[in-house]
Symmetry: C3
Subunit: 256 residues, 3 copies
């Protein structure tokens, strides 16, 4: 495979440098070596190192010309790079549908193209104890389902509890990382991302296109509006308005 | 099933509204619909919506009379509601004793009526490394047991490490959530609740009837007195007196 | 077994008290009873209780002489005590190599003397989504390995994601606790300790001989220098210099 083969196949319009350069593997920017193809995000130009390789860049990039490197100049370097990588170097993922070690109870409904990685537990009873007439703790009856819509992906060793009354729902396209706890009656909106080691307490409603950072904790009953951003390690004790960003323990709106 | 059938069966003394109303399912207050039975906790009266259903309330409730709704007025609406739900709508839990995917080592003793959900690991070696004469990390020998007393419940993907010398003990009636770490030589008191994603470090002693909020972290060697309340996401670095409440990172007593 | 048998076997030079005392078991200092052997770390002298047992101490210990107790005075009481315990009372660990319930994907390379406890998931895809041309979230292709070098130990229910491009690497002698998330392309240095419930985000580089406290969260891309100490529950958002200590959310250098 030479640079010019990629140029033809992926319709790269603007090229600077040697098009006969051999391309044998892909690499992150920091580890670029002879024979690789890599890419450069805006602002990372200072990390470009010398070598006989191809780099996919934006025309806005402030990069010094280096005669050893071949430059592919495109509109969106990251997306173009991913397409090249997937076509040439990627053998596909090991994560196919539901990993056999994941535990799914009967009360779970799964949509199309759902991935659930190893060790996750979906549909077990939630944590909702109360003291009964005999002053003994009893768990509230959990009768609800877990509903996982199309194109949801769930990482490894994550727990999603069934609803008590009503259901726990993860709407289409939401992506859930590893070691996350999603409690009873939570609703996660479309395309929301929940990064690893977060915890979403009972009856929390999260809107669509939100981002919940690593290790964040959301208090039970809280509502998080569409497009909100919850910073890493935040402890969210109050509702979060759509489109706002919160950080810290307890979490506060940015710049307030 | 009509409202009057429930009235007879559960000795509801005071009823306002149509006793011939059909009851087909149970529902949380926010989702009350025609044909359901629901309940109202004090302070949530403003969330009652119109419809042909039954609501279990307290006589202190400040609720507007609505001719469509049938009111069951009782002393403890929640407990009465749970009894009705369990008798009429609940098929029982899936969580029976020890889930087959849970890993229990030989050095674990289990009491009566213990529930351990899927994926939990009980009795593995704790984390207690030291540098030996050869300047190599070596784990302290773990020789102790995990002792889990009667009526303890442990959630999914939780880890309880065995004691090094001495044992790790979870006393009767304690309830432990999902994705929790309980380290070597910890003692958890009777009826203490530990909510999901918390971590209890080595040799921590927690009294009875305590509440450890979601995602809290307790430093090794700390003692937490009976009836203490640890707020969500707290990082507890010092002993906590009986009956006190602490919050934050690092955790401080409330109102101090 | 009598105290004098231990004295001979372990070359204890300096002994105070009865050498004919019978020794039947080992115990932590707080639970020392007749017939046990225990040890005392510097600063814990006030916790020594009366009884017919053996205690291993340092010659610097400020302890009151007690005629019931036999004192073994050595250079490093902890190390001497561990050697005695391992020789006399320890049957060895249950944690042998890779626990059968751990999930290891094909793309994992394991060194010698590696322990991986129950329920851990090694080598699954990381969490790195982007919106593609169709405005749909797609996961970055994960093509890298997880490389686990010699003498690494990994606890229970921990997740180590494979690299996207490049590898995730855990260098020799590193010790990783339970319920930890190690993301794609992370590098953990030699002999570094990562305590339970921590999370190391994508592409973080941690040096050698570091200590990452329980429940700490490290932001993606951060570099942590050799010998750094990250306090429990810290949220590390910036690079940490070698040999420094940081604490809090967000983490700050001690005494600054």
């Amino acid at each position: 495979m030479k640079a010019k083969d990629i140029i033809n196949k992926f319709n790269i319009d603007h090229v600077v440098g040697d098009v006969d350069k051999p391309i044998k593997f892909c690499s992150p920017l920091d580890e670029a070596k002879d024979g690789c193809i890599t890419f450069c995000k805006k602002g990372k130009e200072s990390r470009i190192i010398n070598g006989k390789y191809v780099i996919v860049v934006d025309k806005e990039s402030k990069i010094l010309f280096n005669k050893n490197i071949t430059y592919f100049v495109v509109k969106n370097p990251f997306l173009t790079f991913v397409k090249i990588v997937k076509a040439l170097f990627y053998e596909g993922t090991n994560q196919k549908n539901i990993h056999p070690s994941a535990i799914l109870y009967d009360n779970v409904e799964i949509g199309k193209n759902v991935i659930i990685q190893a060790g996750s537990v979906i549909g077990s009873d939630g944590f909702g104890y109360f003291k009964n007439d005999d002053n003994i703790y009893e768990n509230f009856p959990h009768m609800g389902k877990v509903i996982i819509e199309d194109n949801v992906e769930i990482g490894a060793n994550t727990c999603v509890d069934r609803g008590s009354m009503g259901n726990t729902i993860i709407r289409q396209g939401a992506k859930i990382g590893n070691l996350i706890h999603i409690a009873h009656n939570v609703i996660i909106g479309e395309n929301t991302m929940i990064v690893c080691r977060s915890g979403i307490s009972g009856s929390v409603k999260i809107g669509k296109e939100c981002f919940i950072g690593v290790g964040a904790t959301i208090r039970d009953g809280v509502t998080i509006g569409d497009g909100a951003f919850i910073g890493m390690g935040s402890v969210v004790t109050k509702n979060v308005k759509p489109g706002t960003q919160v950080y810290g323990n307890p979490a506060r709106e940015a710049n307030k």
